[in-house]
Point group: C2
Chain length 540, copies 2
């Protein structure tokens, strides 16, 4: 009997597309991720549907754009009844399992309206956006938020504190032995207090292995979402990773003075954020980015452990392995910190897929520059497991054709991404109504057009200006490109996305004959006309 097919879906949080050696990073060596790329396809133009954790992840987990799932920001509950990848996999007998972060917030009000008990099996499925939570840990645990199992683990190892996550895994120590707050950029150059083996990334890796080992007793195939919080801030990493990279290993910031001259108002408001102002200072970059690189290096090392574990269990040949991230990190590029806007370092993600199927042999080690969206993963997994595509629900497209070296007959011409800044200080700074705090990116592979409700658009030519320094949004010379992409945005915005209860296959047969078969006679003049129509359709 062939081994069950499985998917191991690894996601980092806030990992830029270009902080991997296979993607060309000059100093950071990630041999295990590179080896995965050598066994699979590395997609070079994969974009998230919203460059911030919560909505980006809800798009990954539903296969639907942000405008469709409606969870526009971290902590905005995904509505009860929104179909998830987990629903589709459950229908075909595949477990959809979580180890790590989803950023899901349950729609308790919606569940109550539907009489769904949050503690029931269905309630947990709905409340965890379709995942079976082997271990749920969103990775940020300030006081007094609900505590993760990792706290218990740390205490078991002897690392006690009111908040072990913060005080051991995300704090440093001063020369005087005092606790230094790991949330603060100033302390990024120090080692976290926790020994490396007990820090979050190895812990989550072991939890993934715990699940895989336990799943051997279960016939069902699985899709395991191993979702690391790192290299997301707090930017702090335990020894030896804390000083594995030096300030001189930090690539120079990708920014130009002209970007600060008369910027687009929304861009300007984001440049004015505290985090952006801090990252504009090279001293901050040189202190923080080595820790960011160390966190990535630690992940790569742990993936080595994990991949060897899979191989030892004989699972490599039956497991599709996916490596990606939920968005990038500006790290001072473009005078910005964090993510949120649509420059490539924020909205473009690393994406590597190694499909063990023989059909994928022809593409191993190759690079694919097709325009890919995060919402493509859910349909990819569904097809990999043999499920029927659901384009009326999932708005992405399966990547299997690309993995198998077949160019799809039709493929999207643009990728889309959205952002809702109503929770950001930019709303106040720009005095925007909540409903108008919206940005939309359309990128066709060359031109990146950004629609900003209430403002002029932005426009970048990534061929002439790969660093995205020159905003052509107000330049009359580029009106044709703006018009074209604005039309693409209109087409996208008008496209159906909520007709989720009716597949095309049930629509297709109706127009020709079903109506007459139903016995509802619309607009027939007389008996003769009905008889003619029935005869024409071959009905009795």
């Amino acid at each position: 009997m062939a081994a069950a097919k499985n998917v191991l879906w690894i996601m980092c949080d806030q990992l830029r597309f270009d902080y991997l050696s296979c993607a060309g990073h000059p100093r950071l060596h990630t041999p295990n991720i590179d080896a995965l790329a050598a066994r699979g396809v590395r997609f070079t133009r994969a974009y998230v549907q919203s460059p911030v954790c919560g909505p980006s992840r809800m798009s990954f987990y539903t296969g639907r754009y942000m405008r469709s799932h409606g969870s526009n920001w971290n902590g905005f509950p995904l509505r009860a009844g929104e179909p998830t990848l987990g629903d589709h996999l459950k229908d075909i007998g595949v477990r959809n399992v979580l180890v790590g972060k989803t950023h899901m917030k349950a729609d308790i009000e919606g569940m109550a309206r539907l009489g769904v008990d949050p503690g029931s099996i269905i309630g947990v499925h709905v409340g965890e956006c379709g995942f079976e939570p082997f271990e749920r840990d969103d990775g940020l645990h300030p006081d007094p938020a609900p505590r993760p199992r990792y706290d218990v683990y740390l205490r078991e190892q002897g690392f006690d504190a009111p908040n072990p996550w913060e005080h051991w895994a995300n704090s440093a120590e001063g020369a005087d032995g005092g606790i230094l707050n790991g949330w603060l950029l100033a302390h990024a150059d120090k080692p976290a207090r926790v020994p490396e083996e007990h820090s979050e990334t190895p812990y989550m890796t072991r939890r993934a292995m715990d699940f895989i080992a336990a799943a051997a007793d279960d016939d069902r195939p699985w899709c395991l979402h191993l979702s690391y919080i790192k290299p997301h801030w707090p930017y702090i990493v335990p020894a030896p990773y804390h000083d594995m990279y030096a300030p001189d290993d930090v690539p120079p910031a990708v920014r130009a003075e002209q970007e600060r001259q008369h910027p687009h108002p929304v861009y300007g408001a984001f440049m004015d954020f505290r985090v952006s102002r801090n990252f504009a200072d090279d001293a901050v970059r040189r202190g923080v980015i080595p820790a960011y690189m160390g966190l990535i290096k630690q992940i790569d090392d742990q993936l080595g452990v994990l991949f060897r574990f899979l191989a030892a269990r004989g699972l490599t040949d039956s497991t599709m392995i996916v490596f990606t991230s939920d968005h990038g990190d500006y790290l001072g590029d473009h005078w910005l910190g964090e993510k949120d806007l649509f420059h490539d370092c924020s909205a473009k993600i690393p994406l590597i897929i190694a499909d063990p199927s023989p059909a994928a042999d022809a593409t191993r080690g190759s690079v694919c520059n097709a325009l890919v969206e995060a919402i493509d993963l859910a349909p990819t997994f569904l097809e990999f497991f043999g499920g029927t595509a659901k384009p009326h629900v999932m708005e992405g497209a399966s990547l299997l054709p690309w993995l198998h070296g077949r160019r799809p007959a039709a493929w999207r011409r643009c990728v889309f991404s959205e952002y809702d800044y109503s929770m950001q200080e930019a709303r106040l700074a720009l005095n925007q109504p909540i409903a108008d705090c919206r940005l939309f990116m359309v990128f066709d592979g060359r031109w990146k057009y950004i629609h900003a409700t209430g403002f002029r658009p932005m426009l970048y030519d990534l061929v002439a200006d790969p660093d995205e320094f020159h905003d052509r949004g107000a330049d009359p010379q580029f009106a044709p490109e703006r018009d074209r992409l604005r039309n693409a945005l209109l087409d996208w915005a008008l496209r159906d996305h909520n007709r989720i209860t009716m597949p095309d296959a049930r629509i297709a047969p109706y127009a020709g004959r079903q109506q007459l078969k139903s016995g509802i006679l619309i607009g027939y003049r007389d008996e003769a006309e009905v008889a003619q129509a029935k005869a024409r359709l071959g009905l009795a």
Copy 2:
């Protein structure tokens, strides 16, 4: 104690805006509806969100555009979890009760996914789109569809048959005593076989009175949706209404020969429908429209009965009465039958609201030409009952300000309507992909712009061309109007409509201070910067 406030929400099916004497019909006298208009406000520019039963009604019942609720066509289930007027009223202790038609189809698959038993109290609420079904009857009952209670009623009155609805209420008799199929236009001039008192309109009126009488024993206020199937086809009415109007009472068709010359492809495809070809024949119009008028006259008479009943029970002063329709009927105008497109006789509806509140005294008997949408009714009712507005869920706006003689500070500049013709033969005739069978109307009070995916737009100037004979969609002279309305369409299409789990009131306080209070410190450089920020916000 003041009497509980109630709403009596009367809906006709397929009633044109102009087939009432208060709206100027030259031959049809509707004194009871006119009297309601004299007590309330008649809205002259009310548009449905889709000119066909199912999606139009789902917009009425949710307060949301078709693109938002996703039930694009008759029989497309409204997704489980889609918030309805009934949900919002239930939250404030108001019963939302149905007598008659909704065209709702339950989302059995979605309910199963959520573990909702369709037979449970919540299951019925969800499956009936938020209504308590005192009597559910969608009004079209060919063999072998599920049978209505009305069948039982007819049998109790001695009108037996395998299908009493069809054979008594919607058939005529030939000279030879044979049954004549009432679905057929040819028989519209004959009386239905059922005696008038046992026909559908008086039956439903009595059922409404049954509910109102029974509700006297219940403290809860109610919103009663009395939803007549008529004057929807089958176009057949019992005596004496069948010959109350003569062929010469039929207004001439509003159509021009030029409309058939080089029509827009979508319009042309609809003109080619069987029902349109039949209504293009004046013989059909002169046979059918007197029956249509008789059906309306019967409704008006029954509303007289109902209004006297309310008065006798002392309910008139506490009951808001609303009279409207789910869309119109071309009846041969513009060379079309049925509804489906956006000419006023299809997409514009009658809407009369009589609010008993003293605040509405100033507007009684007036006409309001504000741009109104069907989705405005749900928020109107919620406000009337004292509920809190939910603009993040309901996309319409309460009409109470207009009813109380206050012009809202901000009001929409355009109304929008949508149509999905994937279930129509036009899809085949035009060889359109299912997803592209979409039309969108934008009307600003003068210009009516119709976006047809895959085709050029249509454009009508209702000031210069009130009969909508001249399509300016390809005329270079009107490019500025097209561009302006296309921009309005883009703004509308990009507007949020699925962020239903997060009200503005929970977003508003975040940007300024909540983030710091949460303990998540983003981008702070050091302790001093945190201390400064806390001091600025007055946090400990």
